[in-house]
């Protein structure tokens, strides 16, 4: 296990390094920051002076080294727009996004797993067909359209839930969260549902397929021949088997939830990093874009690492090899 963790750490460092090069080059290629920072009538001398003060006249590899050394100390430069450290700006917004995505993830498991098990144990029945048809809607209707419909129905027509913003937040265990106040929770319901719908559909289908593939296996029949109850067979034997693919996919999907949060945060005016990155790209706010991408990559690495650890906990056959 120690070797495994050590190897993963080295891999993580390499991935981060490569990403930093790509991001640095990519951002360098889009537009000239001097155009934004200087007034249109600035003289060539003024331009040269600002460029020199920002170290923009140095050769590209040298600029990268400067960038990397300060990035290692957590310094990604100040945001051009907010005039505060880019990392601070991101970490101010990140909890809102994480709260949204984690709520969506929990929703997708809490709703998706039981429905998938329910449909999976009754193949070909009305239950199975309806759940399956419903799940097709879940991920074939465009995310943004689902979001607008939710606003239309629950905010405009029924007037039950607020449609925009994060609402009031409170502090639980030192973390600022919407769960602390009723107002915060009502603000969270619609965007979290919007983000979760496609994931629910995915979890349902994965679970159902898993159950239907596992049920005819010999070890299930043997479990029946041993006189175990159907409950124990389904919730211990079958569930533990299908959890392996589900954990894998959920790990990958958690990343895409953060990515999809951009759309949801835009529709519901949720003050998270998704909205921040869109604004920053529009404003060519380089430090924020670079810091954002590296933070997201680091999060992906952490998630994947956790999935690998979970995986080896769930499947004894890969524990030896890890």
């Amino acid at each position: 296990m120690t070797v495994f963790i050590f190897r993963r750490l080295i891999q993580a460092v390499i991935v981060l390094l490569v990403t930093s090069v790509i991001v640095f080059l990519g951002v360098y290629a889009i537009g000239d920051p001097l155009e934004i920072l200087l007034p249109g009538d600035a003289t060539a001398a003024e331009r040269a002076q600002v460029a020199a003060s920002l170290n923009l006249d140095a050769p590209l590899p040298l600029q990268y080294v400067t960038f990397l050394t300060s990035a290692l100390t957590g310094d990604f430069g100040n945001s051009f727009v907010f005039n505060r450290p880019a990392l601070t700006v991101i970490f101010e917004r990140l909890p809102a996004t994480l709260e949204l995505t984690i709520t969506a993830l929990v929703l997708s498991l809490v709703i998706g797993l039981p429905l998938g098990l329910w449909a999976g144990t009754r193949p070909g029945t009305l239950v199975d067909e309806s759940v399956m048809t419903g799940s097709i809607l879940g991920f074939s209707l465009p995310n943004f359209w689902q979001g607008m419909m939710l606003v239309m129905i629950f905010s405009v027509w029924l007037g039950w839930l607020p449609s925009t913003g994060r609402g009031e937040t409170g502090t639980i265990l030192g973390i600022r969260t919407s769960f602390a106040t009723w107002d915060g929770i009502t603000h969270l319901i619609l965007p979290a549902t919007n983000l979760a719908l496609a994931q629910i559909a995915l979890v349902i289908r994965l679970t159902r397929t898993g159950v239907q593939e596992t049920m005819p296996l010999d070890f299930v029949k043997f479990a029946r021949a041993r006189g175990l109850s159907e409950r124990r067979i389904l919730f211990v034997h079958v569930f533990k088997t299908i959890l392996i693919p589900i954990v894998t996919v959920i790990g990958v999907e958690f990343g895409s939830l953060i990515a999809f949060a951009v759309v949801t945060e835009t529709i519901f005016a949720w003050p998270g990093v998704g909205k921040l990155i869109i604004d920053s790209i529009n404003a060519l706010d380089r430090p924020v874009v670079v810091a954002y991408i590296l933070v997201i990559v680091a999060m992906f690495i952490v998630i994947n690492f956790l999935v690998d650890v979970l995986y080896s906990l769930l499947d004894p056959r890969i524990r030896g090899r890890a």
Partner: protein
């Protein structure tokens, strides 16, 4: 003569498929006494495994036991509730499957799987259940059972896994074990070890054993009585000596003739001509008719069982003595 442990009469298990009704088991009679080993022999698709699963109510959909009586310890299992059947399974009636690589759940420790089997039938603590499991593992010859109980199935070899499956079957000292080709997936040396072990345990515990196999040699070494199955029916049954020495049904004779032991070295192996009829295209009357050298017009009608003592056969033209088999 003691009352039979298991008595099966006219058992029919049919599968309602889109292409027609598959009559996998089509009128099977069996009888088993306590402490007796019965070999159920037949080729693939003859319905021998389905017969085994029918007895404990574990036929997969769309299969269904449509007719017949299954009497176990005087209790009618066909009218028994699902809950009653579940409480019998793994307790009074245990089963051992063919492929030991597939029968244990790969993601659970064998201890977990044994303890849950104990606790499904007895209200005992985990520690007691564990002690019972360790004892069962020791009984089937697993070395260091108290340690090995915490291993996962993939940490055992195929033969050892089958021993674990047998240990699970023995946990509650059942009255009846149905063993569905339990040594077919194992290599020959392991196979004979397991056979010896099973024979010893069956004699020690006085349990009834139905040994389902396609291998007449294995059954001859193990069982006291044998039933030969062909196309969903028992075509011949009797003691091992009766059936092997004086087979009456031409199919039985063909099976015996095609074992390597019965053949002359250097000669091509003898076989039964033709193949078993497909389950949806079985001929009327005697299902063996198209492959039988003795078939006449009367074989187009259903042959009834002729009984001479314990030896019974379903044939209009039974072979008379051993000389005829060799001819």
């Amino acid at each position: 003569m003691t009352a039979p442990l298991l008595k099966v009469e006219g058992l029919k298990t049919w599968f309602d498929t889109p292409r027609g009704m598959v009559k996998s088991v089509d009128g099977v009679d069996l009888e088993l006494r306590r402490g007796e080993i019965l070999g159920l022999v037949g080729e693939s698709g003859s319905g021998k495994s389905v017969t085994g699963f029918s007895l404990i109510g574990l036929v997969d959909a769309p299969g269904r036991v449509v007719e017949g009586r299954i009497e176990f310890n005087g209790e009618d299992l066909r009218t028994a509730s699902p809950a009653r059947l579940r409480s019998l399974r793994g307790d009074r009636i245990a089963m051992i499957f063919q492929d030991p690589m597939m029968t244990l759940n790969p993601v659970l420790r064998i201890g977990t799987q044994m303890i849950e089997t104990v606790r499904a039938h007895r209200n005992v603590s985990r520690a007691e259940a564990r002690a019972k499991a360790v004892e069962a593992l020791g009984k089937v010859g697993i070395p260091r059972p108290a340690e090995r109980i915490d291993a996962y199935p993939h940490e055992f070899s195929g033969g050892m896994r089958q021993r674990v499956a047998i240990a699970i079957a023995l946990l509650h000292e059942p009255d009846l074990i149905i063993a569905d080709e339990p040594t077919t997936a194992l290599d020959v040396t392991i196979q004979s070890q397991i056979l010896a072990e099973v024979q010893k345990l069956a004699a020690e515990m006085g349990l009834g054993l139905i040994w389902i196999s396609h291998d007449l040699g294995v059954v001859a070494a193990l069982a006291q009585r044998v039933a030969v199955m062909y196309a969903g029916r028992i075509v011949e049954r009797g003691t091992i000596d009766e059936v092997l020495d004086t087979p009456r049904h031409p199919y039985t004779a063909g099976l015996i003739g095609s074992t390597p032991m019965a053949n002359v070295r250097g000669q091509p192996l003898r076989q039964i001509p033709g193949t078993a009829p497909p389950p949806l295209g079985r001929p009327e009357g005697c299902p063996f008719r198209p492959r039988c050298a003795f078939a006449t017009d009367i074989c187009r009608t259903e042959p009834q069982e002729t009984l001479a003592g314990g030896h019974g056969w379903r044939c209009f033209h039974p072979l008379q003595d051993a000389a005829e088999v060799r001819a």
